[in-house]
């Protein structure tokens, strides 16, 4: 009886996984930090003129090969653009352009079903204000990018952080 129980326990238990070795790999503008806990931190760098910024995404339970081709790297890219846009707050025309780059990179698939996403209205509104009130226009698109990043994380939770 004990033997049967032992066999059953062994059969049902997951194979023991040896913790993987941590490694850091840099490919083009992206650095992957493969962590022992099974996650991968990817850091993406973007530049606008002289201003550089980096954004991060944690890919949950991923390996290096999957991370390199992950569509979620766009989240890191969008975060990098957001950082640059915030850094350029004193030059709102530039901040406006940078935020639009972030919005483009994040793409259209960021909100889950049921979200009544009106951020598009604010992009259109910013477009009408960029010549007359650039600071306001910049703040509008930066706000849109911030909202969309938040929605993206919510939609793809728990696969990304």
């Amino acid at each position: 009886m004990r033997a049967v129980l032992c066999i059953a326990l062994v059969a049902c238990s997951q194979p023991a996984r040896a913790p993987r070795a941590e490694q850091i790999v840099t490919l083009d503008d992206t650095t992957f930090h493969v962590r022992a806990d099974g996650n991968v931190d990817a850091t993406v760098t973007r530049a606008f003129g002289e201003t550089r910024g980096s954004g991060n995404v944690t890919l949950v339970q991923a390996d290096l090969a999957a991370s390199r081709s992950s569509s979620h790297l766009r989240l890191a890219g969008a975060r990098a653009w957001l950082g640059i846009a915030k850094a350029l707050v004193d030059t709102p025309q530039l901040a406006y352009q940078v935020a639009l780059h972030g919005i483009d990179e994040l793409g259209a698939e960021y909100a889950k079903r049921g979200v009544q996403d009106d951020t598009g209205i604010f992009i259109l509104l910013a477009r009408t204000k960029i010549d007359t009130d650039p600071a306001h226009a910049a703040s509008l698109v930066v706000g849109v990018l911030t909202d969309r990043i938040r929605l993206y994380v919510k939609r793809y939770h728990p696969h990304v952080q």
């Binding site: 259209a108 079903r113 049921g114 979200v115 009544q116 996403d117 009106d118 209205i121 259109l124």
Partner: protein, 332 residues
């Protein structure tokens, strides 16, 4: 006198004080007249109201306000049975529940009803129009030109709008049809100043989801109203409810799905080209917005008109309960 006898004879037993309080207002022939005081009296114990009997008569025409008697005429060909049942506190009909008092100005419908004048055909058609689009499976060419929202929904949207306007945060929830055929808005949290996250699972027992409703409070941006955004419409591709509602400023907007739109989505799903459909919808909206030169809210209108026309959606707009179809059937 037992309750059934009281109903069949049309007599209402009132006390002197009750009779003295009775007031009758308006022209009974033109609209419904409710008597909340009578409802209260009908539920009183018989002993307290047994000193006097007042005969009641259904009057077709102006009511003499000087009289303190209430009259019912059981020989009238109008709806005496339901009228009397309702008058004496009977269950409201499904129609009553759905639309409250038939007078659109009556904000607090009462089951007590004395006279039920025939509803104008035009109005009946608008009410039926709403039922038609709320139940889905609408053909674009057969979409009603005008609809009338249930009072319960108009009131709920008004409240949601007031809350949104005060906080400048989008409010909303799920519009559901209850088991009894009434419509209500199940409010939920989840709004910011740029979006509203509906909880699609918030549907009660026996309720059917009709659509998501939300608001556009953009006064801080200098906009007193603004119709649907591109995102509001594009996500109809992923949603399945027949309607979508929006309240902004004094305006209420609605978009109804059609069978043609469903077919379009299905075709793109089968071809794994849903993203292409969404991109095309977005482009349609943004191109029309840019091409239209006018005030910002009018540019948004142009966007909504274009997308609805091209992708077989039916767009309604109006104030209060009555919404009219904007634009016509697709020319494609």
């Amino acid at each position: 006198m037992s309750e059934p006898e009281r109903r069949s004879s049309g007599e209402v037993t009132t006390s002197p004080s009750c009779a003295a309080d009775t007031t009758i207002g308006g022209d009974v022939s033109g609209s419904d007249v409710t008597f909340e005081s009578m409802q209260a009296r009908a539920s009183e114990p018989h002993e307290t109201c047994s000193s006097q009997h007042a005969t009641a008569e259904l009057v077709r025409g102006p009511v003499d306000l000087s009289t303190k008697k209430e009259h019912f005429d059981l020989d009238s060909p109008a709806p005496p049975v339901t009228t009397l049942v309702n008058t004496l506190g009977g269950m409201p009909t499904a129609s009553d529940q759905a639309y409250g008092a038939l007078d659109s100005h009556a904000r607090h419908p009462s089951p007590v009803r004395v006279a039920e004048a025939p509803m104008p055909v035009d109005r009946r058609r608008k009410i039926a129009g709403f039922e038609q689009i709320a139940r889905g499976h609408l053909r674009e060419a057969g979409a009603p030109e005008a609809i009338e929202l249930p009072v319960s929904l108009v009131d709920a949207l008004e409240k949601a709008w007031k809350d949104a306007d005060a906080s400048q945060v989008e409010t909303g929830g799920n519009v559901v049809r209850t088991y009894g055929g009434t419509y209500k808005l199940r409010r939920s949290e989840g709004g910011t100043n740029r979006l509203f996250e509906a909880d699609e699972h918030d549907v009660g027992w026996g309720e059917t989801m009709i659509g998501i409703a939300h608001t556009h409070p953009y006064r801080k941006e200098g906009l007193d109203h603004g119709t649907f955004s591109d995102g509001d419409i594009v996500n109809l591709v992923d949603e399945s409810e027949p309607l979508k509602f929006l309240r902004s400023g004094p305006f209420t907007y609605a978009i109804a799905r059609t069978k043609e739109f469903e077919a379009l989505v299905k075709r793109h799903e089968q071809a794994q080209r849903i993203d292409d459909l969404k991109k095309a919808m977005k482009k349609s909206y943004n191109d029309a917005f840019s091409a239209f030169h006018g005030a910002f809210p009018d540019q948004l209108e142009a966007g909504v008109n274009a997308i609805c026309k091209q992708f077989h959606l039916v767009y309604y707009q109006g104030q209060g309960a009555e919404l009219r179809r904007v634009g016509g059937p697709s020319i494609q």
